[in-house]
Symmetry: C2
Subunit: 338 residues, 2 copies
């Protein structure tokens, strides 16, 4: 009996994961969507490849793949979530939004993997590993770059950021300000002219991997709301974290998504910001239209729930796990977890 007991003990010792360990079936990635574009008639350019070397002639013409998006998945051996969780970032950012936080602590991807969901973290058209195309020939217009001052103020970390000087925070705000420069490294140039191509790629992703739950942030809000409209049978729940836009219920029939449970999550200090009350107005209006059509829409207005100080980047805030837990419980209530 002693030998058997020891054998059992050693099986447990080898097999039992630590609290945070999980069995993975596959880590993988793919590009989805996009099209081939052919450039011709552009003049040859001289490019200096290495400092001091003679210039080399480069022909910019030819065929290129453009407007695809990048998706990376982690599939668990035994997921608890009945469908995978897709995580869509906001404007001027990439899928890194959902990974390890700028302060080095686990982000929402890690939280939801530990909670038992297959996760799909993507980079939208034009950003990160999705790549970007020559402009103005393919992408129209030009890219723009978000300065740290804009990120600080627009993302409601605080009311004022002085270049090279004082960074003023909102009282009790939750962003790990010591990691703000690290967060600045996550910024990605953006275009204002790629919305249609981005929606098309997201819709292709939904067709490829759903049924699913979609979590969207900020600019991803409108893409997520629209993806649900375009495939209400495939989107089993939509969680919009601080969405910055939404369809107009006077132009689009909200009843189409009445079978898709929606959750909207808002952080703190919206009323203290010059622009945010106006940004939030459209998603609030869209949520009301879905509810009026007989759909299910819940709202987590965090400060009203007693959770104070959350910024626009609440998945990176110090209490990000607390909010993820609330979201996870809400998903559970939709019958989407085994």
């Amino acid at each position: 009996m002693r030998a058997i007991t020891l054998a059992i003990a050693s099986v447990f010792a080898a097999a039992a994961p630590a609290a945070a360990d999980y069995m993975v079936k596959e880590v993988g990635s793919f590009h989805v969507g996009g099209r081939t574009e052919t450039l011709s008639g552009l003049p040859t350019k001289e490019i200096v490849f290495s400092p001091g070397a003679p210039p080399i002639k480069v022909d910019p013409n030819g065929e290129f793949e453009v407007e695809q998006m990048y998706v990376q998945y982690v599939k668990l051996a035994q997921p608890k979530g009945r469908v995978p969780l897709l995580l869509w970032h906001g404007g001027g950012l990439s899928g890194v939004t959902w990974e390890t936080k700028p302060d080095g602590k686990p982000g929402w991807q890690q939280f939801f993997l530990n909670a038992g969901y297959d996760t799909y973290v993507s980079d939208a058209v034009e950003r990160g590993r999705a790549s970007w195309a020559r402009y103005p020939e393919i992408f129209k217009g030009e890219p723009f770059f978000r300065a740290k001052k804009e990120a600080w103020e627009l993302f409601r970390i605080g009311p004022a950021y002085e270049v090279g000087g004082k960074r003023e925070t909102f009282e009790g705000q939750q962003f790990p300000v010591e990691a703000f420069d690290q967060f600045g490294k996550q910024g990605i140039p953006r275009w204002a002219t790629n919305d249609a191509a981005t929606q098309k790629a997201y819709d292709a992703l939904v067709q490829k991997v759903c049924p699913c739950i979609i979590v969207v942030h900020s600019q991803g809000g409108n893409f997520g709301f629209t993806a649900a409209l375009n495939a209400p049978d495939k989107v089993k729940a939509l969680i919009a974290v601080e969405p910055s836009g939404a369809p107009d219920p006077e132009k689009v029939e909200a009843a189409k998504v009445k079978g898709v449970p929606h959750l909207i999550v808002w952080g703190d200090n919206i009323d203290k910001h010059a622009v945010w009350p106006r940004i939030a107005a459209n998603p609030i209006k869209w949520a009301q239209a879905i509810a009026s059509a007989g759909g299910k829409v819940d709202t987590f207005d965090l400060p009203k729930m007693g959770i104070k100080g959350n910024t626009h980047m609440l998945m990176m805030d110090k209490n990000s796990d607390d909010i993820a837990k609330l979201v996870n419980e809400w998903i559970g209530k939709q019958g989407l977890v085994n």
Copy 2:
């Protein structure tokens, strides 16, 4: 006894992974390196954010984080590799090189995870999730975009690619040509002026996560050889897959890396290409210099070993696992696997 036997069986059933499953401790990411750049005095631009909307004034000035790189890791609960494996991509590409192959089959990241290594897959400065900076104010020069014809011919899939027409392959070549357009979606614009910043970020990565094994591809070759020179105590082995450059042994002392085992891997059809014999010459010369200094350098010249038809992108070729197995055995011989 029957109850105990059943108990043991159920423990095994719950714990035993499928052949490809593995226990993960953490999936995470970070940015490393980089610096703050301040732009001032640039004129405000008018940008149309949505088609038909009035232009909005955007101030391009301010503080930006630039020249960082992105690194994503998968840490195993019980790695067999004594040190992690870092995977560095080539020019005009990103870390996607090492992930799922364009034909949807598992790539080298997956192979080495299954073989028991912690993996760190990165995007170098200017590419993918590392992001890029405004030019010509911060990045000097301008980006260029690789057309599919150049990729087909330079990567030795075949001798000729006609735009919109016939794609001629080398006889018996191993690239999954039906997935070539999918591969085209992985391309990332590049600059010719960021070598110093890229090396600096790679060196910072080595200081942060090594001791390690580094696997480099193509343009990554020179960055990897130089990283080993800059930290020979931290780099326990360097595997250069089709390196496109190397330090000059007349300028740099190869003896510095005589304690770092090097492996160089070459695909097929180099002699049939106009440029590749010249590209390969410098890495071959560097390898000879390390050997002459008493260092350990092995070369896998695949066609000489009877493995035919491999392209420059051999980690995506149909026989990629066979080559990974050879590399893994070589690592084992360096005493780096438990």
